[in-house]
């Protein structure tokens, strides 16, 4: 793996590490002057472990750097026009609200009293990170969540770029163009909700797993990022389970490495879910009535129409890529890339959540469908860009070099 990719992965691991340790040390009520050194020591250890076989990267063409810089500036410039001061409604009413609570070392458990609309069962990767920095700074400031979200949003195209530019600079650049032109990606990126963080962790798991055959240590990183998906959003549990099921053989065979990676986020999640969080409403309100939804065909049609509207509005290019690729596979009578099948299975899982939802379906789709698709957009881009660039550097676009 490129050393620059490792640095981007380190940012993700660092955020996860901060949120987990802060939360676990908040429970016994430790003061911030103890929590901060523990977290800094963990970050230093993590950095050294990640770069223990680090070799300085070969000096590269300045064009690669310039293309990336221009792309990031363009994304940031668009973000500046699309951002709301306090993010979208859920950022105000859920994520940043939780961060406010978690920044209080004494009364943070009051968060769990807001059962009606604040969703205190949502995992804490995002709010705990903001809470830690709030404690360090002596109070919450609107710059904290915004800066964190911009960083996470930009890490997504940067990670894909660093994975691709050596294989094909053209494909890597086209990928950047796709992100620049996707207003939904940027809007959600600065919405101050946890969907972009989940998308980043899920993408990181894909990237790490692509190296697992050559470097078994990458299994640890893959597992860690899957654990962080779970620690970020409830949907992350579904995504991680689908990923693990798809690669069950590897995960069982390498169970020790899997355990090393996933243990810490899983412990934090279990402590949170079993010790503090109320039951998730989508799970606890399941009944015979919601189970009967499975034969209600109008729901399938409604969900399909809503998804297609969202896809046609925001992800048209990706839709055509997926359809053409699947047709190509059908004509060539070969199985599609397993990574794409994994993403489609995740989509099917999301689809079934809507089928069984006790919520007003129209409302549920209206408020969440675009966010669920946003969570899977970066991995889909990565899989296609990786295929076009050629996994071994011999892709069709490899011929064009700068």
């Amino acid at each position: 793996m490129q050393s620059d990719s490792k640095h981007i992965l380190y940012i993700g691991l660092g955020i996860g590490c901060i949120s987990i340790l802060y939360y676990l040390l908040l429970i016994p009520g430790l003061p911030v002057f103890i929590i901060a050194p523990v977290i800094i020591a963990a970050l230093v250890f993590l950095y050294r472990w990640l770069n223990k076989d680090y070799h300085p990267a070969v000096q590269n063409n300045i064009w690669r750097m310039a293309i990336l810089a221009i792309a990031l500036v363009m994304i940031a410039d668009k973000a500046d026009g699309l951002v709301d001061k306090h993010g979208q409604w859920d950022a105000w009413a859920i994520w940043n609200l939780h961060a406010h609570y978690l920044a209080d070392p004494v009364y943070w458990k009051n968060m769990f009293r807001n059962l009606e609309h604040a969703h205190p069962d949502y995992p804490l990767a995002l709010p705990a990170t903001i809470a830690f920095f709030s404690r360090l700074a002596g109070g919450f400031h609107m710059l904290m969540p915004y800066t964190l979200h911009v960083l996470i949003m930009l890490c997504i195209p940067v990670l894909i770029y660093t994975e691709l530019y050596r294989k094909s600079l053209l494909v890597a650049s086209l990928m950047l163009l796709l992100f620049i032109n996707n207003d939904m990606f940027i809007t959600q990126g600065v919405s101050q909700m946890a969907d972009t963080m989940l998308a980043f962790f899920f993408l990181a798991a894909f990237v790490c797993f692509d190296y697992a055959k050559e470097h078994r240590q990458m299994i640890i990183l893959t597992s860690a990022f899957l654990g962080l998906c779970m620690w970020t959003k409830n949907e992350g549990i579904l995504l991680s389970l689908v990923f693990i099921l798809f690669h069950a053989k590897v995960f069982v065979f390498e169970w020790k490495r899997v355990l090393y990676g996933i243990a810490l986020p899983l412990i934090a999640l279990l402590v949170f879910k079993l010790g503090y969080a109320p039951a998730n409403d989508l799970v606890s309100r399941q009944s015979a009535e919601t189970f009967n939804n499975i034969t209600d065909w109008s729901r399938y049609e409604q969900i399909y129409r809503s998804w297609m509207d969202t896809i046609n509005q925001h992800y048209k290019t990706l839709k055509y890529l997926v359809v053409l690729y699947l047709l190509y596979c059908l004509l060539r009578r070969k199985l599609p890339d397993s990574r794409l099948l994994l993403i489609l299975t995740c989509l099917a899982g999301y689809f079934m959540i809507y089928i069984f939802s006790h919520q007003d379906l129209e409302w549920h789709l209206f408020t969440s469908a675009h966010r669920l698709l946003h969570q899977l957009m970066p991995v889909t881009v990565y899989v296609f860009a990786h295929k076009f660039a050629g996994a071994s550097g011999k892709g069709a676009f490899q011929l064009i070099r700068l």
Partner: protein, 118 residues
Amino acid sequence: MKAPVLLIILFFVVAVSAWSYYHKFSNVQDDMDKLANALHGVKDVVQGGSAISIGGNVDITIRSQSRYILAPGIVLADHKDTSLMIYPVQDSAMPAGKIIWQHTDERFKYYITTSHAE
């Protein structure tokens, strides 16, 4: 590309973006800020109900124009002794009382009113 150069580019763009965001919004008081100010001093939250008191003497009600009622989460300076969620009424009618705060986003319209018309 050396990794530190990549990180310098990334963090430079993030810093400039944060600076731009701060200058854009630091002096802007939007609906959310007004709400927080309007509710500053909330002491009592009626669990599951609609009424809270501001400063102990004004009853207010939260209503939503649409049937999709969402509750705003409010964080106040003196939140340490109470749960801070303000619950919406199960009523989508337009408010009868004096509107003390309203917010419109791309989807919904939210109101906080006094309980009775003045």
